[in-house]
């Protein structure tokens, strides 16, 4: 009799654990999807700024055609890209092209003083900050999701639930998501 009760309790606990884990996997997956679309919003904002920026620079440095073409091509590649890895690559290319554009702008003092140019530059910087911010949130969520999928025993539930790991969204710098490896549990209270 007592063994029956023990058995029932153990099974009940296992079921509860499975349900809780499954739900948290679902929550993390949805969260990371939402986080990814937040990055998309910021990326789109970045792409929307570029035509204006190119036009403004053109007004002062019309003969630097190659640079404009590079930026425009990189922009359309970035708009077309899909999935974290492809998008990250395209964004990096775009960042490179934009750096060239700004390097060109350096040579034109009038352009650098142009109010419109300054505003666009500020907007772009702000957008890039926001891309970084939303990317960090996405990467943190993905890290939590992937940890859950890899760790035992939640990995068992993940296999049954068919939960897949997600890719990190990284720009340039793989060290970004690396966690500082210091532990503080033992610091004096």
């Amino acid at each position: 009799m007592i063994w029956l009760i023990v058995l029932i309790v153990v099974i009940a606990l296992l079921v509860i654990y499975a349900v809780v884990t499954y739900n948290s996997l679902v929550r993390l997956r949805n969260q990371s999807e939402e986080a990814f679309s937040d990055i998309d919003v910021q990326l789109k904002r970045r792409h929307d700024l570029i035509p204006n920026l190119v036009e403004t620079v053109k007004g002062y440095a019309a003969h630097e055609r190659q640079v404009f073409e590079n930026v425009t091509a990189a922009r359309s590649a970035a708009t077309a890209a899909h999935g974290p890895e492809a998008q990250a690559q395209a964004e990096n290319a775009l960042t490179g092209a934009l750096r060239q554009l700004f390097a060109v702008a350096e040579a034109y003092p009038d352009l650098k003083a142009n109010q419109n140019f300054l505003e666009l530059q500020n907007e772009l910087t702000d957008t890039e900050d926001k891309i970084q911010a939303s990317r960090r949130f996405y990467n943190m969520t993905v890290r939590d999701l992937n940890t859950k999928i890899q760790q035992f025993p939640s990995s068992v539930i993940a296999r049954f639930a068919n939960a897949g790991e997600r890719e990190f969204f990284e720009l340039e710098d793989p060290a970004e998501r690396a966690v500082p490896t210091v532990s503080f549990g033992t610091a004096s209270a």
Binding site: L98, A133, R136, F137, L171, E172, D173, P174, P180, A187
Partner: protein, 327 residues
């Protein structure tokens, strides 16, 4: 870093459980003397106080602190942008922003949920800190919001407050010979009741402050996670503790637990045990440990950016951004 966050969370849960136990014990002891009515009264008081605190505290706090609402980005673009970016990093909606006209550098968060959250900073803070320090402080406040600390601390404050109130009510009730059950009670029960009425409020406050200190450590650690730059917050804490001065406005005990650092007026001559915040030196020490491994700031300067932020110096020429990752 993450391990510190989890361990801190576990400890605050334990403290909260301690609170409930204390409440239960006090209720039980009182019911020995006064009957079941005491338990009901205790419960009603707690619920009413909780309700008042959760639904009116935001406005009360803002009124006490005399804060000015920043409604549009244009009013304080730098501050707005910083908070906006931190909120995105933490996956939170943009909190409402307030500025308090006060010399003493301080900041606090309020609001019962991330959707109704408030972040307030003093003008003294804005004047004194540089960009990275301010970012650290704001990240600390945003972390309080993300970790639901405001709600937790409201619970703690209410429980502590209602225990104190209960103790007072029943103390008086005893002097005036209240209750019908005390005719056949024995003197030992009487002593137990009196002692617990005296000790319970003290224990409650100790627990409340212990939870508060715990949450400060958690918020410091998650701020470091958000900004990836523990040094910013560390040097901000140094500045704040050096520049702290008694402030009539912020020195109000009622909102002390919300501040980034205990305001002087509220702290007075208390020991560590009776403080809502851990000593700044200790917090700075822990942040320094977090920073110990690597300085991740270098990479952030060039990462994904077409140009450096105004006023920032790139560590390396743009042609070789990868070189900056070689730590």
């Amino acid at each position: 870093m993450y391990r510190q966050i989890t361990s801190n969370k576990r400890k605050s849960l334990a403290l909260l459980a301690g609170f409930l136990v204390l409440y239960g014990v006090l209720g039980y002891v009182l019911s020995l003397w006064f009957g079941v009515a005491a338990l009901v009264i205790a419960l009603v008081i707690a619920v009413v106080m909780l309700f008042i605190n959760l639904y009116m505290a935001d406005d009360l706090v803002m009124a006490v602190a005399g804060a000015r609402h920043i409604e549009r980005k244009e009013e304080a673009p730098e501050l707005w942008r910083m908070v906006e970016n931190l909120a995105i990093t933490a996956g939170l909606p943009m909190p409402r922003l307030y500025v308090v006209e006060d010399e003493s550098p301080n900041a606090f968060a309020a609001g019962r949920s991330p959707k109704q959250a408030i972040v307030a900073v003093t003008t003294g803070l804005l004047e004194r800190l540089d960009e990275e320090e301010l970012e650290g402080v704001l990240a600390h406040e945003v972390s309080h919001i993300r970790n639901y600390d405001v709600r937790l601390m409201t619970w703690a404050a209410v429980l502590a407050g209602s225990i104190a109130l209960l103790a007072q009510i029943f103390m008086r009730g005893m002097w005036f010979g209240g209750g019908d059950n005390n005719r056949n009670a024995n003197p030992i029960v009487l002593v137990v009741v009196i002692v617990s009425l005296i000790l319970a409020p003290i224990a409650a406050i100790l627990i409340q402050f212990a939870i508060s200190r715990r949450r400060e450590y958690v918020a410091d650690a998650s701020a470091a996670e958000l900004t990836r730059y523990p040094q910013g917050l560390a040097s901000a804490l140094e500045q704040i503790s050096a520049a702290a001065k008694p402030s009539a406005r912020l020195g109000n005990q009622a909102i002390a637990h919300l501040m980034i650092m205990a305001p002087l007026g509220a702290r007075g001559h208390t020991s560590k045990l009776f403080s809502t915040h851990p000593p700044p030196e200790d917090r700075i020490g822990r942040l320094a440990q977090m920073a110990g491994g690597a300085d991740h700031r270098h990479e952030d300067l060039t990462e994904g950016r077409a140009m450096p932020r105004p006023g920032e110096h790139r560590e390396l020429p743009p042609e070789e951004p990868m070189a900056s990752t070689g730590l």
